[in-house]
């Protein structure tokens, strides 16, 4: 779903830093971020990059040591953690009603939000069932529904679709897109980069506690157009010399490369060269690399 233009910031971070007791290096340093209403930020980074610390600071789980977090109004946060954060021995409806009470939802607003969350996670026929007896995917949907139930300006999703079947995943991603379309801010982390590619309008890559990349995802991906080549095993001998002779510039990708611009004769030369090799490339196409390929390149090959 296309993002709308919402002009105010849901959240601003200024020079955020955090160091855990006894740690040699800070988990986060110098983080500046402004998240617009209606924007979904895909938060990427390898293990230890500082994603969880950043989410913990936003959720108020960790105390702020350095910098400033500025909210548009009061802190208002919906949360879908990776853990199944509900009561397994309560029924689905009881879980939802418990959290509706804790979110201070009453009257018509309560009924409307409950109905919306139940419908958007397709839990209508599971309401009378104990959460422990739901399938793994249904439990994820309940976890998701409890997060969505909270009226908030910003929603945090942390690996929210782990273990979910393909159909449920589409449902949940559509719910995230719906949130941004309604003008809510969203921060979304996932190891499924295709999900981030779908829902996020902006990518923030953390590396060793610092922002390594903060870009509009469409721009990032669209700027990546060109001829994409992916080798079966390794680059054929003489290919580098060919590119030099043709005065072509290339960027390395995991197991391949991208040639941003070339003309017809240059493409013909490359095709002819490759056709004479015993092993054809695994991929040869015009287009843009996937977010995963870009992420691996930007993050030095670390997942």
């Amino acid at each position: 779903m296309a993002s709308s233009c919402w002009c105010w910031s849901v959240l601003e971070l200024h020079n955020i830093g955090h160091r855990y007791p006894g740690a040699d290096t800070p988990a986060l340093q110098g983080i500046d971020l402004q998240l617009q209403a209606g924007q979904c930020l895909g938060l990427l980074g390898s293990n230890g990059a500082g994603k969880t610390t950043l989410l913990s600071l936003l959720a108020g789980v960790l105390p702020l040591q350095q910098g400033e977090i500025r909210w548009d109004g009061e802190r208002s946060l919906g949360l879908v953690p990776q853990q199944l954060a509900f009561y397994a021995e309560l029924k689905v409806r009881e879980n939802l009603e418990l959290f509706a009470d804790l979110y201070h939802l009453r009257g018509a607003e309560r009924a409307r939000r409950l109905e919306l969350c139940i419908a958007s996670t397709r839990l209508e026929d599971k309401l009378a069932r104990r959460a422990a007896r739901l399938s793994g995917g249904e439990q994820r949907r309940l976890n998701f529904a409890i997060g969505l139930l909270q009226p908030a300006r910003l929603y945090l999703f942390d690996e929210a679709t782990v273990g979910v079947d393909a159909a449920s995943r589409q449902l949940l991603l559509a719910a995230v897109e719906h949130l941004t379309a309604e003008g809510h801010g969203v921060i979304y982390t996932s190891h499924y980069l295709d999900e981030i590619e779908r829902v996020a309008q902006r990518i923030l890559l953390l590396h060793e506690g610092r922002v390594r990349l903060d870009l509009d995802s469409r721009q990032l991906l669209d700027d990546g157009h060109g001829l994409l080549l992916e080798w079966q095993s390794e680059e054929p001998a003489g290919f580098g010399e060919l590119l030099t002779r043709l005065h072509l510039h290339s960027e390395a990708l995991p197991n391949g490369l991208r040639i941003p611009s070339l003309d017809g004769p240059q493409l013909l030369e490359i095709t002819r060269f490759l056709a004479e090799r015993p092993e054809l490339p695994r991929l040869l196409r015009f287009g843009r690399p996937s977010l995963e390929q870009l992420y691996l390149r930007l993050n030095g090959g670390r997942l």
Binding site: G60, V61, L79, A85, Y87, H104, R130, I146
Partner: protein
């Protein structure tokens, strides 16, 4: 609204936890009934009826006097014929009549069947001593001419019994609440297993908190900025209610249930206010322990082991499993460190000593002090624990 929702959630979770319900209600009920039954013979107010065989090699008026005197001492006993292996035997010597005045050491020989309990043996020994003394006095009075030997035996014996009867005034001095030595099986079993069961609220209370933290629900609460006082209170309030329910239910079983199965029912003498005071003090103490355990344990399994272990040790020390009256003095002193012992002493002061609220106030004060200390410590640790809850990713 939030507190009400959290309390409702705790109650629903407890009602759906069959293990917790079994530990809180079925286990103490079973223990109560089984132990009241098992100890009913040993700890009864009246000794059990004896089956008695009196062996008389040479009948005389004195052997008849002895038989009659013995029957008076053992009114509910049954005199049986020879050869019954379950009966106790009292064998008079062949020269019983002659030796009565000549040999002060002479007396009958006693034979006990192997199953006969200590209390019955002691009761028989006492009855034989009294019957022998009365027969000897009868012989002495007849020998000295103070008693007309021509009177019927029953009349002569009645005169002797009049002379040996004495009015003994008994006064109970309530120096200590440990009245387990005087308590009957119901008076001991009902409060003991009631207290034991009440302390077990610490297990589901602590286990539930661990599951809440492991599931990530606590993370949601923290992100929500939920008041920690409300969270702690939501853990304590349902178990306060459960404890009061256990108290009322198990006492009711003691009063009304035990007689239905042929056991001596419990009577509840004294002021109802005293029982209310004791119930509240005990409940506060168990919930204080539960909160502390919830904050100390790191997993539901640890809470189960730690809580179960602590309760069993407190019960063994505190006279729940073995009455303090049969413990050696040193063990009895050690029992004083167990809050279960304080609660049991308070109960026995009411049930056996017929004490007043003032009599049990020192025990209630100790229980409330424990509640305050454990509760305050538990609250501080609980708060720190919740504040240290971290965002978990895999």
């Amino acid at each position: 609204m939030r507190l009400r929702a959290l309390v409702r959630k705790e109650i629903l979770l407890l009602l759906r936890d069959p293990h917790a319900l079994a530990v809180l209600f079925i286990m103490p009920t079973l223990f109560l009934v089984l132990m009241a039954g098992a100890m009913s013979n040993y700890l009864q107010d009246k000794p059990p009826a004896l089956r008695l065989e009196l062996q008389v090699p040479q009948a005389s008026s004195y052997s008849e006097a002895f038989r009659a005197a013995l029957q008076v001492q053992l009114p509910n006993s049954e005199m049986v014929a020879a050869g019954d292996p379950r009966s106790s035997r009292v064998s008079l010597p062949a020269d019983f009549a002659e030796s009565l005045l000549n040999d002060n050491a002479a007396g009958p020989a006693l034979g006990f069947p192997p199953q006969l309990d200590k209390l019955s043996r002691e009761h028989l020994r006492g009855a034989v001593r009294v019957a022998l003394a009365q027969t000897r006095l009868l012989a002495f009075l007849e020998d000295s001419g103070d008693l007309d030997a021509g009177l019927p035996l029953a009349e002569r014996l009645a005169l002797v019994q009049q002379r040996t009867a004495s009015r003994i005034e008994e006064r109970e001095l309530l120096a200590s609440g440990d009245l387990s030595g005087r308590a009957n099986a119901s008076q001991l079993s009902v409060p003991a297993w009631l207290i034991f069961g009440m302390f077990f609220v610490a297990l589901p209370m602590a286990g539930g908190f661990q599951r809440e933290q492991q599931s990530g629900a606590l993370l949601r609460f923290r992100a929500l900025g939920l008041n920690l006082g409300a969270l702690a209170l939501s853990k304590v309030l349902p178990y306060l209610l459960i404890n009061l329910l256990q108290f009322a239910l198990l006492l009711a079983i003691g009063v009304h249930g035990l007689p239905l199965i042929g056991l001596q029912g419990l009577s509840l003498p004294g002021s109802p206010g005293a029982y209310v005071l004791l119930a509240i003090s005990l409940t506060c103490a168990t919930c204080g322990l539960g909160l502390l355990l919830a904050a100390l344990a790191r997993s539901a399994e640890q809470a189960l082991l730690l809580g179960g272990g602590i309760n069993i040790i407190l019960a063994a020390l505190g006279g729940i499993m073995v009455p303090k009256s049969v413990m050696p003095a040193a063990m009895g002193q050690l029992a004083e460190i167990s809050p279960m012992s304080w609660a049991l002493d308070a109960f026995l002061t009411l049930l056996v000593g017929q004490g007043s609220p003032a009599d049990i106030a020192p025990y209630c004060f100790r229980l409330l002090l424990m509640a305050a200390l454990f509760g305050a410590g538990g609250w501080l640790l609980f708060r720190r624990r919740v504040q240290q809850t971290q965002w978990t990713t895999y």
